[in-house]
């Protein structure tokens, strides 16, 4: 089974590495999708069927669309599809930001106590998932919903630049 895990990990890492090194943004975005598929495969390997399919549905189905849409709408010319030249400041900032994220993740992973041999969990039904989302994790759910609503409102404000937008122009 760990052989399978190695293959999945290789797919995830390789697609991420190639996505970073490519100059063509659309190719990078598509490789990012491949990366998400790899993560979904990892969830499947770990026995989390529901999370895996939800990952494919949300990330491959919806988030990728939004990423691609944003690229097509913001890039003017085809030549612009490749990223601009790097400056020293940008490299340092990128390294700092990615280092901070990696440090936080590594710290969290090291601090988490993982039980050595997880007992085979009973198959979670939709009812259980719903109950735990509405019960113990209700606060997290509400907070996530708030953040998403704020993001949506921000997007609407950014997009609605006209003084008197005609009624039929709503996207």
């Amino acid at each position: 089974m760990s052989f399978l895990l190695v293959i999945i990990a290789l797919v995830i890492l390789a697609s991420a590495a190639v996505a970073m090194s490519l100059r063509n943004l659309i190719h990078s975005a598509l490789l990012l999708v491949a990366n998400w598929l790899g993560v979904a495969a990892f969830y499947l390997w770990a026995g989390a069927e529901f999370v895996a399919f939800a990952q494919v549905l949300i990330y491959v189905g919806a988030v990728s669309m939004i990423v691609l849409f944003a690229m097509l709408l913001t890039r003017r010319a085809r030549a612009d599809a490749a990223g601009g030249a790097d400056s020293g400041g940008r490299t340092v900032a990128a390294l700092l930001a990615s280092g901070a994220v990696a440090g936080t993740l590594a710290f969290a992973a090291l601090q988490t106590h993982l039980p050595a041999a997880a007992s085979p969990a009973p198959p979670a039904t939709v009812r259980d998932l719903g109950a735990s989302l509405m019960g113990p994790h209700a606060a997290a759910l509400v907070i996530v919903g708030m953040i998403l609503t704020v993001a949506l409102l921000g997007a609407v404000i950014l997009a609605a630049t006209e003084r008197n937008p005609p009624e039929d122009d709503a996207p």
Binding site: E49, V60, A170
Partner: protein, 403 residues
């Protein structure tokens, strides 16, 4: 879970299982699961490949009849060999790739599309014992598999380096994002009522009859009825079918993302479109029309997979009928229909489903009250929203033609 009635044990009912076990029995024990799975894959490919072939013929025939012409009738008896002639033509055509195209993506797009649309067939229960993979979250798997289609359409449109194709890709993205939401929301009431995401569980939850005549299908509940309507509309949009075929609109975008495809790759796109439509209709049958359950208790002697096929073909013919009837929507009308009409209605439908679920104990005189309440929750806003959205749009008047 499933009460075994005499009908469930008839030889016709068990025929597919007997065939599979017989085939798998030819192999040594450790390879049997592999042989069984491969047989399921081959069976799905063969059945739905043939269905695709004759569906194209049926579509052209029905469209022809609707438009007062005979349709294809020269190849073989009554045009029956037309799909095979088309297939040979497609296979022998030259495969043209534009010089400036992104070759890798241009090649990958049809492959990804067909692969993802075939995945969806794995979890649909075609009969009492006929399901390739019985997953606990089959419904989620089905829609996750459908998520890849949009990506493939985008890849095809972008890699062609053609402005019409790119426009089609943008349209496809906008349309598929918009309609994913009502499609998923329309399914949630069924999952709520059945209490499971498993396709076989949902079909089992629709078993049984009132007085042996009226089936307990979800389409016969108010929230299921509204959900079914929203599901069919969103499914037509998701599979790029007319009246929502904006991405490939022949008359505006010269077939959109398909412009730069020819020969076998074009055939693959065509095939994937029909596969997608068939799979969505199959899911619609499973979720709302009772899957393989017979409509009346005394009709159980007909094998379950025949019932599934009958319902599936009826839905597919309905799709063809819709294509023959309605003109294509404009892009602004399309998005408005999704966000201002279908999404609010689907959300209200969730409320109706909750009401239906909480009042499950009502009986006798309260039963009509329960029906009226749940229906009013959806039908009221339907009328109000429809009035509001079409306000100021008077019925079209004809000055020179008689209506």
């Amino acid at each position: 879970m499933i009460a075994v009635s005499p009908a469930a044990d008839s030889i016709l009912e068990r025929l597919p299982v007997i065939l599979r076990d017989g085939f798998a029995g030819l192999f040594p024990q450790p390879l049997r699961w592999l042989a069984g799975s491969l047989l399921a894959i081959v069976a799905i490919l063969a059945v739905f490949g043939l269905l695709f072939a004759f569906l194209t013929l049926a579509e052209r025939k029905v469209l022809g009849r609707v438009q007062n012409r005979p349709g294809p009738n020269r190849t073989g008896p009554a045009g029956l060999f037309q799909p095979f002639a088309d297939g040979i033509k497609m296979l022998t055509k030259e495969d043209i790739v534009p010089f400036v195209a992104d070759r890798v993506l241009h090649f990958l797009a049809p492959v990804v599309l067909v692969a993802f649309s075939l995945l969806a067939f794995a979890v649909i229960p075609y009969g009492r014992r006929l399901v390739a993979v019985d997953l606990d979250s089959a419904v989620l798997f089905f829609f996750a598999a459908g998520a890849g289609n949009e990506l493939a359409v985008f890849m095809a449109g972008w890699s062609s380096h053609n402005k019409y194709s790119l426009l089609a890709a943008m349209r496809a993205l906008a349309q598929l994002i918009s309609y994913e939401l009502p499609l998923l929301l329309s399914v949630v009431p069924v999952v709520m009522l059945a209490g499971t995401l498993s396709a076989t569980g949902i079909v089992a939850a629709q078993g049984g009859w009132t007085a042996g005549l009226v089936p307990h299908w979800f389409v016969l509940t108010p929230c299921g009825l509204a959900g079914f309507a929203i599901f069919i509309i969103a499914a037509l949009a998701e599979s790029n079918r007319s009246p929502f075929d904006l991405p490939e609109a022949e008359s505006e975008l010269i077939a959109g993302h398909l412009t730069e495809y020819s020969g076998f790759k074009y055939a693959l796109f065509f095939m994937a479109e029909y596969f997608g439509m068939t799979a969505l209709c199959g899911m619609g049958v499973t979720l709302f029309l009772g899957g393989w359950q017979a409509p009346c208790a005394f009709l159980q002697f007909i094998p379950s997979w025949v019932w599934f096929a009958v319902k599936l073909l009826a839905l597919l013919l309905g799709c063809i009928w819709v294509r023959a009837t309605f003109p294509r929507l404009r892009i602004d009308q399309l998005t408005r229909l999704a966000w201002k009409f279908l999404v609010p209605l689907a959300l209200l439908n969730l409320l109706a489903a909750a009401l239906w679920h909480l009042t499950a104990g009502w009986s006798g005189a309260l039963q009509p009250v329960r029906w009226a309440l749940a229906l009013a929750l959806v039908a009221g806003p339907f009328v109000l929203l429809g009035r509001r959205l079409s306000a100021g749009l008077a019925p079209r008047t004809y000055r020179y033609a008689s209506s």
